[in-house]
Symmetry: D2
Subunit: 343 residues, 4 copies
Amino acid sequence: MQKRQTIRVGVIGAGRIGSLHAEHLATRIPEAEIVAVSDIRREAAERCARAWDIPEVYEAPGPMMVRDDIDAVLICSSTDTHAALIEQAADAGKHIFCEKPIDLEIARIDRALAAVSNAGVTLMVGFNRRFDHNFRRLRERVAGGDVGEPHLLHIISRDPAPPPLDYIKVSGGIFLDMTIHDFDMARYLMDSEVEELHAMGAVRVDPAIGKAGDLDTAVITMRFANGAIGTIDNSRQAVYGYDQRAEVFGSRGVVRSANDYPNTAMLADADGVRRDNPLYFFIERYTQSYVDELRAFIRSVTEGTPPPTTGEDGRIAILMGYAAKRSVAEARPVTMEEIEMEY
Amino acid sequence: MQKRQTIRVGVIGAGRIGSLHAEHLATRIPEAEIVAVSDIRREAAERCARAWDIPEVYEAPGPMMVRDDIDAVLICSSTDTHAALIEQAADAGKHIFCEKPIDLEIARIDRALAAVSNAGVTLMVGFNRRFDHNFRRLRERVAGGDVGEPHLLHIISRDPAPPPLDYIKVSGGIFLDMTIHDFDMARYLMDSEVEELHAMGAVRVDPAIGKAGDLDTAVITMRFANGAIGTIDNSRQAVYGYDQRAEVFGSRGVVRSANDYPNTAMLADADGVRRDNPLYFFIERYTQSYVDELRAFIRSVTEGTPPPTTGEDGRIAILMGYAAKRSVAEARPVTMEEIEMEY
Amino acid sequence: MQKRQTIRVGVIGAGRIGSLHAEHLATRIPEAEIVAVSDIRREAAERCARAWDIPEVYEAPGPMMVRDDIDAVLICSSTDTHAALIEQAADAGKHIFCEKPIDLEIARIDRALAAVSNAGVTLMVGFNRRFDHNFRRLRERVAGGDVGEPHLLHIISRDPAPPPLDYIKVSGGIFLDMTIHDFDMARYLMDSEVEELHAMGAVRVDPAIGKAGDLDTAVITMRFANGAIGTIDNSRQAVYGYDQRAEVFGSRGVVRSANDYPNTAMLADADGVRRDNPLYFFIERYTQSYVDELRAFIRSVTEGTPPPTTGEDGRIAILMGYAAKRSVAEARPVTMEEIEMEY
Amino acid sequence: MQKRQTIRVGVIGAGRIGSLHAEHLATRIPEAEIVAVSDIRREAAERCARAWDIPEVYEAPGPMMVRDDIDAVLICSSTDTHAALIEQAADAGKHIFCEKPIDLEIARIDRALAAVSNAGVTLMVGFNRRFDHNFRRLRERVAGGDVGEPHLLHIISRDPAPPPLDYIKVSGGIFLDMTIHDFDMARYLMDSEVEELHAMGAVRVDPAIGKAGDLDTAVITMRFANGAIGTIDNSRQAVYGYDQRAEVFGSRGVVRSANDYPNTAMLADADGVRRDNPLYFFIERYTQSYVDELRAFIRSVTEGTPPPTTGEDGRIAILMGYAAKRSVAEARPVTMEEIEMEY
């Protein structure tokens, strides 16, 4: 039997998210085929290859770049490698799916995006939450006019537990590491750019995070080009699990999403009514979104259409993170124009 | 038959809220007795008297102040009369329940509070929402430690429709007229003072409100003395009805309230699942809170204990409104200390 | 000041439900005026009179029957007195509101209804749940065609705790005492008569209830004249509080109601998500329905229109109770025709 | 690369459910490997083989029975073939997963179960709902004592649309085709056998179903060995989608499940609050249960432990269907003992 024409993919980085993408490509996306996987920890790459029948294993991604039988790469390695890998892949004519963030420095992002542009390849950035069933439905409702003109937006985004301190130290800080997803979500839900933002932060979860120079609790207020005002609420630790909700309020109504739960069983006894906590973290909550995001990437490559999340989306989210950092540092609202003009 | 000793009350102002209080005193609070009602529109006072068997009607509140058989007055007349009436009532030795706000000017508030203090009478300010079943339960949960140390607060407070423009023009603006309730709610739920706030406002509902110099949409971000960060979200027009919710997030969990609905009937048909909108406005939603607030006032008077909402609470909420106005005017965060030092 | 023409009411029985009705008449229904209250326990009548300013107190209801200035009586005394009091009141030309059940014996009910019919007075039976905000909305939805042709009905009706054994012994059994409300609700929601029913019962809550010859747990299945099938689920003890729900399913959709809660506060912590239990029992849950039921009675009397719940409604519910008893006794479905032909 | 020891499976029947199982085996269950697929429609088998890389395709299942390299078969062909295929597979020493029902005739079921017993192979019957996240959690709650002694059970089970009339005619009727799942669910949730049941049925959805000798609407009331009473509510057509809920009430509390929805987005506008309908049908709603059911089968085979749903479970559900049919036919409650003694 002959499979129809598929997109041949190389996966760079076989950690948690790389393995997840490999699984989804192998089992849910018949239009793609993984031909190689690389990881600087060879054992990780081999484990992934065994699990999903991937024929070739590398330690470095270089060999994939020169193989003619690879159409696209998935960049799932550590953040500091993203920009250079994008450049290499673009120069090699590969289509690129890259986990967020592209980089923590705008100059490097710009070089990477220029390479992509010159090569004419597809670059999609991994803002998976745009593909979540709940947020996608919010966006449909808003875009379809069900709430009229948007006036207010709220995004609640709280992790169940902070990452290791060592990670926090190289993460670029809460705004570039965690809020970046919410900045993108804000733009996605509102279909409008942020013109100005004000951030207020605190260290409430763990003093060690503060000593590492970061915040663990924050509220960002944004003014959008369409005139609406929005907030993002972040915490590194919601003890009841991943808290991921949004609400858009407008002239004709309001739409909001709730968390997803592992089951609907509701118990009432003498002590009250109760149910299990929401799904614990992104692997559980966003499974479907990761599949759909990859499907969208493969479709973009196959059909030659623009990807739903672009390099520019990745760049803007980083700039918003810069604005938030400055807003906290200088205790004032910051316009995006002011940030953009510096880059 | 002889009724036991009751608190004899004069009601000043027989408009919507004055009549509501009169009804509650007459029908739900056997410890109180209304002996007179006044309104500059005599017909309003007479209608109220007929409805609730009130023996005496006045046009001006003056005669009540000199009657020995009146223990307490309810000030439900227009805002510009509040401060002077508080002074008169205090000087006459009457206990006072006064609708919010005490006044829009701190100097006048301070004179009124001084009179109260000198006279040693009870003054309670009408922040009825503290007595709402939902918000009271949130406060109990937070005060009882169920969410641990508070980290984040959200208050959603949206009216179903804006008041008449003529009212808006003399209202002192959205922050002193509408947000004042939410400022008090924020202090109540957190049991901590706001140290700094930042406000972002917009005119989204009706350009005429903007022309009148006011806002109709706003987000206020607050930093509390306990280290937490909170937001208030206001709109003058939620077409689906009164939207009154809050959420407190902390180190051990989160607690949030939802809106109240006229019924629980849920319909599912080919078009989806649906239910009726939330209760329309404050009369419907906060009925029980108005009764409980008056009960608390009568109890304070009877037992000689401090009222649950004081003149100082009324004063602080106004100062927070000043801070919000300045924050919008000067596009920067404003500390409460900076505002307080000016008064 | 002169009150407009009111309905002058005598209240018979100043126990829990009589006092509740007196309160509602005194405080919520300006169209009515209580002129006398009676109770075989004089102290109970006096306490009620003091609380609601009722000018006259009796031990026996007889004197009320002969007073020309009494238009209507509320029969809130014990069940065994209902039928005779209805006859007396009807003969005296008084309009009658009577708590359910009219009587446990059809022959006595029939005599009472004949007296009412002969006198041409209004008789309303206290099926208060028809006036509940939730069930009323279900009925509106069903009657309005929102679920199309009804196919299935479910009523869940569970008390928080069983009544005293002494009461159970004279109650007529669970079907005549407790299910009677649900039989009426079934007819109300479906707007169709039950033609056949099958009951299955058990003693699960307390063996003493079984020893007293009664059941504490039951499921009744009914076939309606409109072709639909319905169930009623009863328990004498739901430890989480009063459980009062219904669901109507039809060709175009389904509508269902949920319980009412004392507040909407939802807490999530490491142990899960939880909220307070539903309102405890009928006094808390059905307060509004009791007011609206009396308003409907007073309106019927004032306007001379038929009451929303009639003596016939009371009679049918008792017959359904008979059918359920026989179904359990003979372990077979029983038709209503078979029961009706015996009376 | 060498895969670890896997269970080699032959799939019999490549229709909707057979293809679904093939997908799950191929993509989600690395412990199994599909070595062949058969379907009397060769094209269906070939399509399935292409999709999931299955090396061998047959029209008849016979060749699989004689292959030594096949450990287990999945019987997903039409109901009338199940019993004979179970016998063949058992005689050939294959482990067997069989879709429900085993057969519509007890005699044939008994022969099949005898063959399984003689061969000592594993037979699991496809009651997938036992593996549903919601029902599994209910069962855990009940088995864990969270509701105390069970008193009442309700199962709501409504399809979104009836199957084709041609299917209905050979289905054995609603009780053997549709309710069979609910009979099994009742036994699963209560962990107790049904001793007696009463069924009431109607034709409400489509008169053609009645003309075909079947019902489309039914309520079954059951008495369990543990003393509890339960109901099942069935309809062939819920226009709002698949309605699959259950509730267990007991001495210490109640637990109930709700439907699953495609998203949590809730819209409120001037017309009310609304959300999308529940998941449409079993493919959408029970996806995860189908995967977990197969995992359980493969685990039983691998570990040599009894399967969670046995041939006896399949047999009992059919007997309950017989009892329901007789109950309707003779309009009386029927004991399971009476049915069992006939077979």
